[in-house]
Subunit: 318 residues, 2 copies
């Protein structure tokens, strides 16, 4: 029996944009939006609401900024019951530039932050809430957070108007027992206030889908996924696997399988994501993938074993 | 803290051979054997002991037959503490052709069977046991077995001289809760007799490694894996992930990472394995991968969505 409370958020364009500086073609984004709408996902996240004061539109594509006119152009004429979401990184957005909800097609704004920045995130989400948006806070790099710090942050979030708080396994380092621990901890603080727990997985250790299931088993209800697992480096929980797992008949798998064959297999020939040894190595060491991304970008490469030893030695205090 | 009872069996050459009719070059097999020995895996499985009476050596490579002289040629001169294993399929081996252990470098023979053939498997393992080998029975397609049938088979195996009984998720269809159920069921019958439970995963739903961990959490001690997840269709639990997860200091990750870069990335350009949508579809439907393999072999392909619907319709009774 399915749990009707479970919401699926697809962040294909937002997270996938981290691979190509958010430079997806309009036709591609419309095809993705259409397929996701047909599949019945609850939320579709198209990009970041970064300010052009901080990032140049010459260097970054439209989905870094999610201009209102552009969001409307992409979604218009496509039948959809899905809500739209965008993400903001603290310090990369100008609050006054965010329109009130009544002037926007965006339904939800998600604030990404580290544990140490939860106070700042709450200041943000209060503003977005006042403007009329649903909000979430996505706690990144949670596999490196100490439990007391996390508990303090969760206790503060419990007093905020946030709709859901996401556990984000930025480094793809978590195993099932740790997912269980984190979801239980978050639920303890948040559920009594009617706030849901969400989970965003990375696939460095091929555990993106598995950890998403484990979060569901423990009561998380907001689940992130992307088509064919697209996303920076190792990528994310594949949407097609999540939809097949969930038994809610409102979800349709066919449109996602179709667009994988038509759009994502060709795209995969041009940009790289998925299980790869350099990112597996940063995952098992619970590190940011930057070393793996740099390694993959190098033309002259040492062996995988040497790359691994270099990070091991970096990890040792000296 | 690690569990010293856990044994890792690498079946790279045996299971990988299902992709290319067991036609690996000697140099490649020696490199794999050397890397696995350096990594400290407990067992290395090089192939099947099929009889040339049933299969032509013109069509199948050496690792379909595991001729004693050939096994010695491949392993000689390489320092190794790993034991050697081979697999037999019931009906494809001639018992008299299997040498006594004292004349062979093979240490363990694994008998693959379906639940309905456990009686035949026991007849086999008795012979191999009498010849001096360690034995396992690997129960295939277990995701389609009814619990009473499985319990009957396990109860019989509990009275046999088998060393370990493997749960084999042939279709890559199991989720963690089902792995837990199956491992608990097998343990209940087998552990009191000193027989261990093993687990062999397939990666159709990207759960190969995750389910292997879940089997370990529930007490399975014989774990199969392959380098870079090589294996027919979606492939298996990747050895590099398993070794990184296990904390036993006797295992070394470096030689496996090294050989992935040197041998398996180039090989992956020539033969195909890993997460692919057709095999994901047979996995979610709990079906044999043959339809997916046939689909991938077709030059003229329908869309993934149409392939999915064709199997869905096949599944409906009419």
């Amino acid at each position: 029996m399915y749990r009707p409370q479970i919401k699926v958020l697809d962040c294909t364009i937002r997270d996938g944009g981290l691979i190509n500086n958010h430079q997806f073609e309009d036709n591609f984004v419309r095809a993705v939006y259409k397929a996701l709408s047909e599949a019945g996902v609850d939320y579709i996240e198209l990009g970041y609401q970064a300010s052009t004061k901080f990032f140049s539109p010459d260097k970054f594509g439209k989905w870094k900024f999610c201009d209102e006119a552009h969001l409307r152009k992409i979604t218009e004429g496509i039948e959809s019951k899905s809500k739209l979401s965008t993400m903001v990184d603290i310090g990369r957005v100008i609050l006054d530039e965010v329109k009130p909800k009544k002037e926007s097609v965006v339904d939800m704004i998600r604030v990404a932050c580290y544990v140490k920045d939860i106070d700042k995130a709450i200041a943000h989400l209060n503003v977005y809430n006042d403007k009329g948006y649903e909000t979430t806070v996505n706690i990144m790099a949670i596999s490196t957070a100490l439990a007391p710090d996390l508990e303090e942050g969760l206790a503060e979030l419990a007093l905020s108007p946030v709709k859901a708080v996401y556990i984000v396994d930025s480094y793809g380092a978590l195993f099932s027992e740790q997912v269980h621990f984190l979801v239980e901890l978050a639920k303890k603080h948040l559920n009594p206030k009617g706030i849901e727990v969400g989970f965003h997985a990375h696939n460095n250790q091929q555990l993106g889908f598995a950890n998403t299931i484990e979060a569901i088993r423990k009561g998380a209800n907001y689940m992130d996924a992307t088509i064919y697992g697209i996303g920076r480096a190792a990528g994310n929980c594949p949407l097609e696997l999540l939809l097949a797992f969930l038994k809610n008949p409102k979800f349709k798998l066919d449109p996602i399988l179709k667009i994988i064959g038509e759009e994502f297999l060709p795209l995969r020939e041009k940009i790289e994501w998925g299980y790869m040894i350099p990112d597996m190595v940063t995952g098992i060491l619970n590190q940011h993938p930057r070393a793996a991304i740099a390694y993959r970008g190098n033309k002259e490469k040492v062996g995988f074993d040497e790359f691994y030893r270099s990070l091991l030695n970096d990890s040792e205090l000296s």
